[in-house]
Amino acid sequence: MALLWPKRTQIKLKIPLFLISALGLLPAINLYAQDRNKTILSGVVLSSDDQKPLPGATISILNSKVKTTTNIIGGFRFLTADTSGYLTVSYIGYKIAQLRFNPKNTGPYRILLVPDASELKEVVVSTGYQTLPKERATGSFVLVDSTLINRRVSTDVLSRLEGIVPGLIFNRNTSSSASGSLDLSIRGQNTLFSNNQPLIVLDNFPYDGDINNINPNDVASITILKDASAASIWGVRSGNGVIVITTKKGKINQKLSVEFNTNLTIGNKPDLKYDPNYLDANDFINVEETLFKTGYYSSTLNSGYKIVSPVVQLLANAQAGSISQADANTQINALRNLDVRNDIEKYFYRKSVNQQYNLNFRGGGNKSDYYLSLGYDNDLSNQVGYSNGRITINSNYNFYPYKNLQFSAGIYYTKTDNQTNNTVGAINSINGKSQIYPYAQLADANGNSLAIVHDYSLNFVNSASNAQLLDWNYRPLDELRNADNTLGEFDNRINLGLKYNLHKGFSAEVKYLFEDSQGLTNDYYSENTYYTRNLINKFTQTDNTGNVTYPIPVGGILQEDNASLLSQHLRAQLNYSNSLSAKGSLTAIVGSEWSSAVNKSDSPAPVYGYDGDTQANYAHIDYLDYYGLTPRGTGSSQIPNGQSFSETTDHFISYFSNTAYTYDSKYTLSLSGRIDHSNLFGVNTNQKAVPLYSAGTSWDIAKESFYRVDWLPMLKLRATYGYNGNINKSATAVTTISQQSNSYYSGIPYAIIANPGNPDLQWEKSRMINLAVDFSSKNQIISGSAEFYFKKASNLFADTQLAPSSGFSSFFGNTANTSGHGIDLSINSHNIYTPRFKWLTAFNYSYVIDKVTKYSDQSTVTSFLTQGDGNTGVITPLVGAPLFGIYSYRSGPLTHNTGDPQGYLNGQLSTDYSSIIKNTGVDGLLYNGPSRPTSYGSLRNTFSYKDWSLSFNIIYKLGYYFRKSSIQYSALYSSWLGNKDFTKRWMKPGDELTTTVPSMQLPPVDNNRDLFYTFSQTLVENGNNIRLQDITLNYDLTKSLWINSPFNSLTVYGYVNNVGILWRANHDGLDPEVYSLAGGGTTSLPLPRTYSIGLKSNFK
């Protein structure tokens, strides 16, 4: 958006305006004398960021043919017949500006043009080692500029990349994603059992800390390095792609600029009723009544302490005659309309509220520049008790004391305070059960906290308090109230740099980074918490005379854990960038880097008898003796000590070089190489280190003299070839031992070989060939790029069988290969591009498939069924198949007479489940298809009209499958795991035509029938879906500002995220992007929709 300042800024610009007047005044008088109807317009055009004149800018009048260009000092002056209208100012690399003129206002104008990052100005990509102009890069880089980064609203940086980078996908349906970690893939996956997440680089160095510590407001741009040529500079850490984050910096001779940004995001409560693993209370009670009649619960009831549900207890009481059958029925019927999810939603969830504030200053004199930013975030999660406060202070300072010398220093400080007090998970974690019974009540009509079944039967728990034990009831609302768990973290990152420009394009630099980060978990379980009461009760000892002793003292328990990271990087680098001849230019770097990262975690023993108020505690705890546990029959145990200490050290020494030669601005050749050494593999292997290298070339065809395609003025071909690496910390080249106590016969200390050394260990390598074309039509109406890549990953770590005479029957070594290929397509179009109204479209499409080509171990059928999809974080490789796939038992329709599911045994339909399971080998499983999207991308449309702009992003994921959960009668009966499919079950002959849900089986339950059905092809669904990810609306208030406002610019915006699914292939209303465990039990919930409003401002 252009910043237009009429006459009132005249004083600041004495010289140019004076010149303009001098140049134009006399003729103007003459012309004016000749033609009274013409208007004289004059002014000066300047760049908004450094106030420098822009010579050659085009000035025109809307809907008129009058046109002129600015002179050497940016000035212009011309005549028009119109007395009022719009003046349009355009200049390459800057956003088009418009201003209104009328008889009262004919200038001189001072027109400030704002640089447009999306225009074909020199776009610079950063590899973390150097920045290079995009047109000279041969590799696959995606640059995300600050406009695109700021399109989304979030506390963290990386989630802002979702749906805008071709080839980058957020795996939402994995356990790691469901537990709150980021799970990204760039162009598929090139490893089986090693790290599969991209390397994150923050301002030159790998970021070893928690990525959530980085404030998105400090980020200037993000470059994603996708192919070998782009990423191989990062060597063995680049195999999964590299994300380079560049923070904002000041600029020399830039006047002070102050920005203030703030936003508020309010999110819905999650939709608890999404979870298909729920059976409503009425059906659940009917099932319990049926089972009770068969005597299913009698042994559990006889134990006295084992868990039974309230309904079963009532039925038992009625049977025993302690209450009448009629009373029991009345009480049971009162439970039939309850739904525990309502209570959970009411007491354990809330609307999330996230606030973000950021204030930053930047500027520079002639010998220094600076950037200082202060950020504060306060997030209240949608789970009651979870909150997160973050303070970030980022400062960056560059000092040029002598010509050619640059000294830089920066500090990035983050402090976070988290409350982790939600106990909703514990409601469902009942001893031996998967879920709470659906009619549980958490509070009575007056909101008083009620007890639910947890570890023991309510009968046992209620009798226990008489026996000098502490109250043993579990009351979810009290737990929420009494929870006191915090996690405090700080992260301190200090950068130092020294750069010296030698003559003729040579420069030398040294960079150093120190990062220190610590996290302290503090869990205090007061005497009121169930955790503490339960532990004290379990260990309570009663002797023959009835005396009671408490081996765990009555009082609170404090558990503190401490984790720390200390990392250091030192890099020395020589740069060269210069023209070698009239047409050729060379850019080269060579250098070396040492890095070290030490991770420690300490968990001391818990402090028993701790009193949070006085900090007093009991010193004497007997950790050695075994105590018989209460209730009797639950065994004996030592008092939990829980001490653990660990320390890991990663050392790297690397040598790298990168060279690019461009001839005649048409041909570019690039080469890069890197050698990594690390302490993981020991010195011997390092000496044999194989360098990772790449080569690339590009050809700008459009610049050739023979090229005469007018409608396609930009056409460039690129090709790269090279290797990236990956690392696995669990394998070592040297033999490692671990000391044990108590040898088999003599009881002396001894050692086992923890990891057999393998001197042949190597880095995992992935080769990638990338072929690309970049194009742009005239006026950029359509521009974009298409990339095709072919990958081969070799030396992948995997378990492999060894000849047992080696001493081991299997071994984790470089024994597997994968290969893959894919397409990344990115098209931008200017559908309508007028000064007042614009419609821009960005379309991304990615296709990727990876297959295992070599793997010598063989997994079991069960592991293919339960974790073949890879969503639990484990890969089950099969040669010739994709890394992530859905496998199932072939199945037919339900039987007509009994509603039993049918599988295939020797090619015939069969209900002999144990034989089907026994006789189905891996070959006999049905491979349904990939479990990760093979085609994905986004479609983003942006409309702007005057000062308004509206943008929405549609994300699609296609070509994959998922397994849905259904009723498992064995799990329903024994662990209360319900499923709404129960209501759709086969009930009478003929139902098999309309349902695939098997009939209810009565005890004794055939577990194999449930197992077969759970993993049958019936339950595999197509995962294809298209969703409206987000909508953002901006209103630029800048033009409407009053004359003396303190703002240079002011924008308000609204943003809606996770808007909704537009289309899905499955008919069950399931979101395939939600993680669910095969076989049910753990289903996370769809991300709730959030609404944000915010303000961006830039002060004068």
């Binding site: 020589l574 993981l680 000391q739 088999y744 002396i748 086992i752 057999p756 042949d760 069988q801």
Partner: protein, 457 residues
């Protein structure tokens, strides 16, 4: 100032780059321990700790030979209840191992070889000096001994009995002498295998103390004992005798059976005092349920012989083994004084020293008789002495894992050759002397990954 800076900046930078790349510090930096919980075995203490791993070095010795031998039998009902490997081994089947099975007898012995090799290759990098020589030697000798006994046990289970005529071409076992997991090692000939074992033991001999601190640790006595056992198998009776004598010079304690409590279990609270080296066999349930052969039981024909009351116990009318189990409930497989007296006696008899042979036998047997009742045995000839000695050997060394080796060697002599029979489900199986099934098959997963010739069956 500017000029100075400009002049020294670049050379200074170069020096720092060279230093970064060239310094010896680089190796120290890259040698940092990746995980504090793990150690790279680098000093004598680490080696000693590995050598102390009794689970590896003292347990799970091959047991398939014992199952194949005539120490015990099982009724069909028991046979039906045990695992496939045990069933097939018991009836000397052609195929023994189910598909994709790991065979402990093979795997554990080679694990022992791997550990021994790890120690031996680790020692190479540890300088020996006056301060550590004793410990260094003890560890090196120990590892050599453990490797030798593993090779010997494998050879006795997985290759055909030693035959001097064919041993230079008969296939032995793969001799793994390094820790390289990826190496493919073919089967060496039987004579090469014995050469390796002898060489390991001879190297170990000067390094070891006379007697161990712990019964599970190797010693000179153990080396002499194992050499005596091996030379007996090789038919070199003079060497076997010499080594038995050397053993007995160091250690000749015999247990007076009058002092044992037959109702105690285990009979020896720790170890039998006759042992100088203790190890135990891989436990298979067929052995635990094994019933003592009735002809063997009847051969204990002297009422004053205390051994039956200690060796066996009556369980529901069946005689099961008793005192052969050690403190960990495993079948003991030891190098002990009683074996050495029997080796010595046999060698003396074979070398025509009839009276010395009978004297050695009587020295042992008197401790097995009720006090004051023993009448010394006498022989009419050296051959007669040998027959008596072998008969007593059969009784004394029951269920110690030695019977299979004795069957293998004695079958070569037609006087002592016997055919073994089994009766399962009404079917009679037999194993004639010198049958090719005296070599158990090599596990299939070994051949699949290290293509070596299988034993014909």
């Amino acid at each position: 100032m500017k000029r100075i800076f400009r002049h020294y900046m670049f050379p200074g930078f170069l020096v720092s780059v060279v230093c970064l790349t060239g310094c010896k510090k680089q190796n120290d930096f890259l040698n940092a321990k990746p995980n504090q919980g793990l150690a790279i075995p680098s000093n004598l203490n680490d080696m000693q700790l590995l050598l102390n791993n009794e689970n590896i070095f003292s347990n799970n010795y091959p047991s398939l030979g014992e199952i194949s031998s005539d120490d015990f039998y099982v009724p069909t009902g028991v046979w039906n209840s045990v695992g496939a490997i045990e069933q097939n081994t018991y009836i000397w089947a052609k195929q023994i191992y189910p598909a994709n099975s790991n065979v402990g007898d093979w795997n554990f012995s080679y694990q022992q070889v791997y550990y021994a090799n790890s120690i031996l290759s680790g020692l190479v990098n540890i300088p020996k000096n006056s301060g550590n020589t004793t410990q260094y030697n003890k560890i090196q000798g120990g590892a050599l001994f453990y490797r030798a006994i593993a090779f010997y046990n494998l050879l006795q289970t997985f290759s055909m009995p030693f035959d001097p005529k064919t041993s230079s071409t008969d296939l032995g076992i793969p001799l793994r002498l390094s820790t390289d997991l990826n190496a493919k090692v073919n089967r060496s000939t039987v004579s090469k295998c014995f050469d390796q074992i002898e060489s390991d033991l001879n190297s170990a001999l000067p390094l070891l103390p006379d007697l161990p601190g712990l019964k599970t640790q190797p010693s000179k006595a153990a080396v002499f004992g194992l050499l005596s056992r091996i030379y007996l198998v090789l038919g070199d009776y003079q060497q076997s005798l010499d080594n038995a004598n050397n053993f007995l010079k160091i250690y000749n304690t015999l247990q007076d059976f009058n002092k044992l409590d037959p109702t105690a279990y285990p009979v020896y609270a720790n170890y039998s005092p006759e042992e100088v080296f203790h190890s135990s066999l891989l436990g298979y349930s067929i052995e635990i349920d094994g019933i003592v052969d009735s002809t063997v039981y009847r051969s204990f024909n002297n009422p004053n012989d205390l051994r039956p009351s200690l060796f066996f116990y009556n369980y529901n009318g069946d005689l099961l083994y008793n005192s052969q189990y050690d403190q960990q409930n495993n079948i003991s497989s030891t190098i002990s004084t009683n074996e050495m007296y029997l080796n010595k006696a046999e060698c003396e008899a074979r070398l025509n020293n009839q009276s010395q042979a009978m004297q050695d036998l009587n020295t042992l047997l008197i401790t097995r008789w009720k006090a004051g009742t023993f009448v010394p045995y006498s022989a009419t000839s050296a051959d007669n002495a040998l027959i008596q000695i072998l008969s007593e050997r059969r009784k004394e060394l029951l269920f110690t894992g030695l019977r299979w080796s004795d069957l293998r060697r004695l079958n070569k002599d037609t006087r002592f050759a016997i055919t073994l029979y089994r009766n399962i489900n009404g079917v009679t199986y037999s194993l004639p002397p010198n049958d090719i099934r005296y070599a158990l098959p090599i596990p299939d997963n070994e051949i699949a990954l290290n293509p070596i010739p299988q034993n014909p069956r």
